[in-house]
Symmetry: C2
Subunit: 372 residues, 2 copies
């Protein structure tokens, strides 16, 4: 079940905006065209707004339409009705486009736009890109939906991407995303054999699972959210294998807790790693690198270098290439680190993000200069 929203919009020449009467005339013409698709359409209510005119229309079958005329030169039409699983659409996308074109041509409008019908109901289908564009996913099932102490955790099924982990309503990783993990770890470029590795976060288990294939000496993973691991262990085995099943083995250990607590402990104990992976929150999109999340990012970076061997590397994901300002701010923070660091970056198109993502490899400048 879902409510269907059909959205169209049009722009018109400033010279055609006219007075109240002519605005109402244009809205009436819109109504006439709409009536071909929604017989019995009637105006229920209309009002002048601060910047134009609004009209509410009713058609049989509880189809409610708003037509809004903006004096700035825009018209929006929103058509909304309930559609049961078995019901035909009252207006197909093909008909929507037809309506759009007939309005543009008959009303001599400058430009028309119509969106594929939006489905609003109990299965979330819409997720944002890093730069907050909307992407509709072919999600047909919710497999898991719980709120932990830390976040809202969902696992949904996408026809094209397989099962997908969604944290706080953001797409996190899908079964189709091996490229994400392989780019984060730079498979084939970095050599993990016999290395000591610390993963900060990584609760989906994919990074741990792939790293273990490279025969490291030992991997410790610090994940705060027990429920994320339970959910992924149940629904994401194609990306995490069985590594979340046992929390300890001869070559890895999963510690459930705040990674900062354990990093501080490692600093105190003098424990060192060849690699630290920052598989935590994304770099935020904000105007300035301030606030709680940025403080957290800086603390993570500083602490990580305190547990890295002199030649060690900090590996992390950044953000979408669509957010250059956010990436620049992150690089600025890297520039302020002690010890001085150098970084490389690479990108990969991540299927479940529907965009090109940036990954960073950060190392002590001295080690880079010595080429180790």
């Amino acid at each position: 079940m879902s409510a269907n929203s059909v959205l169209l919009d049009f722009s018109l020449e400033p010279s055609r905006i006219g007075d109240e009467v002519s605005r109402k005339d244009i809205v009436k013409l819109c109504k006439e065209h709409l009536e071909k698709y929604l017989p019995g359409l009637k105006i229920s209510y209309d009002m002048l707004t601060e910047d134009g005119y609004l009209c509410i229309l009713n058609a049989p079958g509880a189809v409610i339409t708003t037509i809004r005329f903006f004096n700035q030169g825009l018209i929006t039409i929103n058509i909304e009705y309930y559609r049961a699983e078995r019901d035909e659409a009252k207006l197909s996308f093909e008909q929507t486009r037809e309506l759009e074109n007939s309005l543009v041509q008959n009303l001599k409008l400058n430009h028309g736009q119509s969106l594929p019908t939006l489905q609003r109901g109990p299965v979330t289908r819409y997720f944002p890109t890093a730069d907050e564009r909307v992407i509709e996913y072919d999600i047909d099932k919710v497999l898991y939906d719980k709120r932990s102490e830390f976040q809202k955790i969902q696992i949904v099924h996408s026809k094209s991407l397989g099962n997908m982990l969604v944290l706080d309503e953001l797409q996190n990783i899908a079964e189709a995303d091996l490229i994400y993990t392989e780019t984060l770890m730079r498979r084939g470029i970095e050599n993990y054999k016999d290395k000591e590795i610390c993963i900060l976060g990584g609760g989906d288990g994919a990074l741990l699972y792939e790293l273990l294939k490279e025969e490291p000496k030992f991997v410790v993973m610090l994940e705060i959210d027990e429920l994320v691991m339970q959910a992924c262990n149940k629904y994401m085995n194609s990306i995490c294998g069985d590594v979340l099943e046992r929390r300890k083995s001869d070559n890895y250990e999963i510690v459930v807790g705040d990674c900062m607590v354990y990093l501080n402990k490692y600093i105190k104990d003098g424990r060192k790693f060849d690699y630290v992976f920052g598989d935590l929150t994304d770099i935020p999109i904000s105007d300035t690198p301030t606030g709680e999340i940025w403080d957290f990012i800086r603390t993570i970076l500083e602490s990580s270098f305190k547990v890295l061997k002199p030649t060690g590397k900090f590996m992390t994901h950044g953000n979408g290439v669509s957010c250059p300002e956010s990436l620049e701010m992150y690089e600025e923070q890297l520039g302020k680190l002690t010890p001085k660091v150098a970084f490389t970056k690479c990108t990969a198109f991540v299927p479940s993000f529907m965009e090109e993502w940036v990954f960073y490899q950060v190392q002590d400048e001295t080690a880079v200069a010595a080429n180790v």
Copy 2:
């Protein structure tokens, strides 16, 4: 300039749907939460609908909100206002998500969903996938916008995909889509050296441009729309080079006209090709393989095999993997061809389609059996 539409929806337990009074109470609670973000919010109008209750609200700055309660157990909230280029959003996506979460938690709703703000205005940002899901593109400029005798032609600029050809409001090819052309022609697998090739359609010039790099004997391209070629020659040179600049050279010729007319002429003249490319319309999404477009597809296939050498191949694009029914219908048509044909297919993720696309290679069964 654009109108911004902020859409939220919620689902609730059937037991909480209640009577008219309780529905109005829930809508009032929604209003109270909304007021935190839209101070001065007032109800302008409300009405009972066939399946619930609708309320129109006004806030200063000509922000108009509709809250609709569906007796089927859904609530939709649509917030709409005009936003000039320089204006801040009245409700950021972060705030929308905050509002969604506070409503779900305080009203004890089952599920909430909120979309990134939709931008409705003179630049089309929304295009459908093959299965009619909405994808928002990072389009910031319209470079070309004309209607030819045959179709509406636009070239727009996407920040991530470069310039993109849009025909009748469907994304066609972008500068980032070399993989599309290379998969269509199976670069590295097919050998075009000294071959005779016929392209049906292909007005963007990309296929011709890439084929010429493979040193064929001669390529003839049959494209109906002069304006498409003019537009691409001006704005898509990174994918078509200068092949659309001259219509004739020693190794290719572009014929402006209906490809069926020329195919019939070639059949009459006995002209034969090693490859025919069907770079025309996509396979339609329809319930049955009937109608004008399917007839056209069948005619193209039959005529193509009449101008192909016995060992020749028909190469074409199919549709998105998200439309298996449509692909099956196409394959059924292939099964009915005379001579009997065999086909192979391959897929590639096409950046500007934002999905995996299927490409077909069709050949006379006898030639396949003889392995030529």
